[in-house]
């Protein structure tokens, strides 16, 4: 007998290239992933958490890196958001995780970004967060959200 409560979430990969100072890709990729997740019937609060992670992580790459890529993996149990960039890396990760600490230039502040809330927001919205950074080389950020976590 078929169990009606069973819901199959397929494996999906979404990928976006991020060029230096391509600030619009953050909002665009967040919107596109949001639509895909809505079509899959993912819960609204989870979609919003993922949209925030994507927006902030992609914006960080656009602001600080030379170029990078955003990948979103949708699996039955977990959604992973990954950004990999070639760029300056994060000199002091502990400081960067603190709310209010920012190294963003003035033009970014004028756009309404650079409040030093990006990484803290990502951490707050993730179930797991791993940041691997090398000064002068680049940064990889991996955030996971579990779909069935209470």
């Amino acid at each position: 007998m078929l169990d009606n409560s069973f819901k199959f979430t397929p494996h999906i990969t979404l990928e976006f290239k991020i060029e230096e100072k391509d600030f619009f890709i953050a909002g665009e990729s967040a919107s596109r992933v949001k639509k895909t997740l809505q079509q899959l019937g993912i819960k609204q609060d989870i979609i919003k958490r993922i949209a925030i992670i994507i927006y902030e992580a992609a914006m960080n790459v656009a602001i600080h890196a030379i170029h990078g890529v955003l990948k979103v993996y949708v699996d039955p149990e977990v959604i992973s958001v990954i950004t990999e960039d070639v760029g300056p890396g994060i000199e002091n990760l502990e400081l960067a995780m603190k709310e209010g600490y920012s190294t963003a230039p003035q033009e970014i502040l004028e756009m309404g970004f650079g409040a030093g809330m990006g990484l803290p927001n990502i951490k707050q919205c993730s179930d797991e967060l791993v940041i691997d950074t090398k000064v002068g080389e680049g940064t990889t950020l991996k955030a996971k959200i579990y779909l069935n976590k209470n």
Partner: protein, 120 residues
Amino acid sequence: MKLKDVALVLDADILCCEELLDREVKTCFACDMVSEMLLRVQSNTLLITSLTNAHVLHAALVMDALAVVFVGGKKPDGTVIKNAEHSGLPLMTTKKHIFECCGLLYKEGLRGYEQEQGIC
């Protein structure tokens, strides 16, 4: 209160989606930082801001904001208004500044974002 009441109280001009002004406003959030908007704006939240760039529109759409009020007489450019119209996000602009807008709406009974309602 409804969006049309907000427009009346703030003496605001409607920039798009006039047909959606019967929407009921549940909460209100005022800020000029996109990261804060992302974290605090929820469905049915009225966003008040002086930022008019396309990032604000993206943030408002991603977070399912109910409408956006631009303060200090500021107006976004035509592309932003067109995209908001297309997405069904009402935009309005008022000459009043952010403090006055918040005060007037609070006086009318509108309340802000509650910490415990946060999504993260």
